[in-house]
């Protein structure tokens, strides 16, 4: 599972998306409040608008950070496919050694112990 901290880039972008949804909801709420027949409640509208602006600011900051860090990474610069193949070969070696060790163990088990 992905770590639940805010540290992964994916988590942050996910948060931005959720915030956009929330901002839309706020806007809808404000509009409905303005449309209410008894007149809008000022504190309600004020608080929502403040939250809206704050969220927009957060979204902007986060997106800016992410875009900056994304641009710093030149894609496919350090391709590790070579190392991956070497790894696969090492994995095969390990499997082989394990089978050999199992055989050793089996052979040793066939002989009665000296204790």
């Amino acid at each position: 599972m992905d770590p639940q901290t805010q540290n992964t880039s994916l988590q942050r972008l996910q948060n931005v998306e959720n915030r956009v949804v929330k901002v839309l909801e706020l806007a809808g709420g404000v509009m409905e409040e303005l449309a209410s027949p008894s007149g809008p409640k000022k504190e309600f509208v004020n608080s929502h608008c403040r939250e809206f602006m704050q969220s927009m600011k957060d979204i902007q900051v986060t997106l800016r950070e992410e875009i900056k860090s994304a641009c710093e990474y030149r894609p496919f610069e350090k391709c590790d496919y070579n190392a991956r193949i070497a790894n696969e070969i090492c994995f095969q070696k390990l499997e082989y050694v394990l089978t050999q060790l199992d055989d050793l163990k089996q052979t040793a088990g066939q002989y009665p112990s000296s204790d």
């Binding site: 996910q14 998306e17 391709c79 496919y81 991956r84 070969i89």
Partner: protein, 652 residues
């Protein structure tokens, strides 16, 4: 018009002074234009009479209607009102048409009628209501789009989450041009590695190396790689390993990418994980296949056309190569399609069971193969992959340094990197050294006082062993004439080693106390323990080893005898002691590698040497049999006692 025509009189066209200035200049109103005159004339037409008439008509009709109201149609009043309105409207329309035609009358000015307060209020109310309605609609719109966006985010979160997890390990590329069609955002996974391949060699990336990322029915990431389209490398010995059977390791991969729709969200996330893992495994298999196909098999094919010492190509097919190497072995390397639906063909050669230890259990009574000692197929498959990968990788690392200058030279060199040669020679060596080991083992097993030690050489074409013998410690007390080593122990040899080194297919034996007949002519003891190195063949190896060991025993006994002062001499494999003048007793070793009870047996030979009278030397022999070193040592001591009257008496 019933009334009399009235005559209206115009004023006299006297120009009246409009204004007069101080200096006496008089200003007259400007002449009214023709049109303006007409307008003013029309204005003066009084329509009041028409209105009065209408009013009178209305009153008359009302009187009439009130008289006969019972049978009156109740809409009649409205009809009359409408007719009057229609009349007024027609007059006004005529006027407007005239104004529009612009030839009789033009509009001089219009003033807006001042709105009444209730009209103002109602307008305001209407506009406020529309605005409120607009806000409400907007609010609804925002909330709906918030919900829709949330749903979209959740649906796509699975896709992008999986894509990002794959992106950690694989190159994900995007082509936005293709994104306009269907449900594909144009993502692809690129499995090719441009650094591994020489661009001048005309290399084409395989169709496998770009994999499209699609959405499956649940909106989740899906990868469709057709079955049988990727390969795995197979290596084996012809006649030993089946060519076409699937390996056990291929079957654990489940290449079906179907995904069950889970019930709860927890199960969904857990199975998402598994799904990503499965996709990852599939990508790994395809990546390995690309390596096997393009790097390995390609290079193998290129190398095959170079002359190599260690191998001869005996067959090439598509994705299959067979070659014969030394020691009567024959290899094959093939690319074998994997995936669940790979066809399993029965190999035509005899099926043999292969244990994982590399020893072969022959079926059908083919015991000849057991002696060949073929090494384990899997380890050499790995070795083949490794050396080619290292070579390709090293080439890739060198490439950025000198790209264009040495490119042409490199291609020439690369096709002759000699890796296949090296590989085949290694394999040949391994088979050969397995045989050598068998011989050594057969000797060492039978002689109880010998031990065999293997040495790792870290070289695939060199192997080395040591035959190790420990002799029992000497019971002769130390004389004053002997030098002492610093730790107080005697400077006598306790261990004898015989080192056997095999390089490619060449055996060399290195040991001291070699049974060298030539060396005996010098017969000085300082040469006795000299190391000597010589070569031998496989068939002779057991005898050579036994002779070497026997000779070492003889040298040891000789050294022991000499420390006591006995006159002793050595001749090939025999030790002679002089008992009395002319009489010699000898311990002679006899080596026989086929002997099951122990390979070295000892004879006691008595020689009566009356040299003048007889021609030859008569001797009598007694077989002592297989003796352990302790027993041999005590025999020697007894013999020395025999000789030792008058010399250093042994106190045992």
């Amino acid at each position: 018009m019933d009334s009399d025509m009235e005559i209206s009189l115009d004023r006299l066209p006297i120009k009246r002074l409009e204004s007069i200035e101080e200096n006496g200049a008089e200003r007259f109103p400007s002449d009214v234009g023709y049109d303006d005159k007409r307008v003013s004339l029309i204005r003066r037409i009084d329509f009041a009479w028409a209105l009065e008439e209408e009013d009178e008509l209305k009153k008359k009709k009302q009187k009439k209607s009130s008289k006969d109201s019972a049978e009156q149609w109740k809409w009649k009043g409205m009809v009359e009102n409408l007719q009057l309105a229609h009349q007024e409207l027609s007059v006004i329309i005529d006027l407007i048409d005239t104004v529009q035609a612009n030839d009789a009358v033009t509009v001089a000015g219009m003033t807006r009628p001042k709105p009444l307060p209730n009209e103002i209020l109602s307008d305001l109310a209407v506009s406020t209501a529309t605005k409120l309605q607009g806000y409400r609609n907007l609010g609804n719109y925002f909330k709906q789009s918030a919900k829709a966006l949330e749903q979209k985010i959740n649906r796509e979160a699975r896709f992008y989450g999986a894509l990002i997890r794959l992106q950690r390990n694989w190159k994900v590329k995007r082509q936005r041009m293709l994104a306009s069609n269907a449900s594909n955002e144009g993502f692809t996974i690129d499995l090719s590695d441009s650094s591994l391949h020489d661009p001048t060699s005309g290399f084409r990336p395989s169709t496998l190396s770009t994999i499209r990322v699609d959405h499956d029915s649940a909106g989740m990431l899906a990868i469709n790689v057709p079955q049988d389209s990727w390969y795995s490398l197979r290596f084996g010995f012809v006649g030993l390993n089946p060519i076409d059977n699937t390996n056990e390791s291929d079957e654990h991969l489940d290449s079906t990418m179907g995904h069950d729709i889970p019930g709860t969200s927890e199960k969904q996330s857990a199975s998402d994980d598994e799904y990503v893992k499965e996709t990852h495994s599939l990508l790994r298999e395809v990546h390995k296949s690309i390596f096997a196909e393009q790097v390995l098999f390609d290079m193998l094919n290129r190398e095959a056309f170079n002359e190599g010492v260690g191998f001869n190509i005996s067959g090439i097919r598509e994705n299959f190569m067979e070659m014969s190497i030394g020691q009567g072995a024959s290899l094959f390397v093939s690319l074998h399609p994997s995936g669940k639906n790979a066809s399993i063909k029965k190999s035509e050669s005899a099926t043999l069971l292969i244990e994982s230890s590399g020893r072969i259990e022959p079926a059908e009574g083919d015991y000849r193969l057991k002696k060949l000692g073929f090494p384990n197929r899997a380890s050499y498959e790995i070795y083949l992959q490794q050396i080619f990968h290292e070579h390709a990788f090293g080439k890739a690392k060198d490439q950025p340094k000198s790209k264009s200058i040495r490119a042409s030279n490199q291609t020439r060199k690369d096709s002759n990197s000699g890796l296949l040669d090296h590989f085949c020679l290694s394999l040949t060596h391994r088979i050969f050294s397995n045989r050598v080991l068998e011989h050594l083992e057969s000797v060492v097993c039978k002689v109880p006082y010998l031990h065999l030690i293997s040495h790792p050489t870290w070289n695939s074409r060199t192997s080395s062993w040591t035959v190790f013998m420990t002799v029992p410690p000497s019971i002769i007390p130390q004389g004053s004439s002997e030098t002492q080593s610093p730790d107080g122990k005697r400077n006598l040899k306790m261990q004898f080693r015989t080192k056997v080194v095999v390089k490619d297919e060449c055996i060399s034996v290195e040991a001291e106390c070699t049974p060298n007949v030539v060396g005996l002519l010098k017969s000085s003891s300082c040469n006795l323990f000299a190391m000597n190195k010589y070569e031998c063949g496989v068939a002779d190896l057991p005898v050579i080893i036994l002779q070497q060991v026997a000779s070492q025993i003889v040298c040891w006994l000789l050294e022991e005898a000499r420390t006591v002062g006995t006159k002793a001499s050595r001749d090939f494999l025999s030790l002679s002691l002089e008992i009395v003048e002319g009489e010699r007793v000898s311990l002679v070793a006899q080596v026989n590698p086929e002997d099951a009870k122990g390979c070295i047996s000892w004879w006691l030979v008595m020689e009566n040497g009356s040299t003048e009278e007889r021609e030859g030397v008569s001797e009598s022999r007694k077989l002592l049999g297989h003796l352990s070193l302790d027993v041999l040592y005590s025999v020697l001591m007894d013999l020395i006692n025999l000789c030792g009257t008058g010399r250093n008496a042994l106190v045992s």
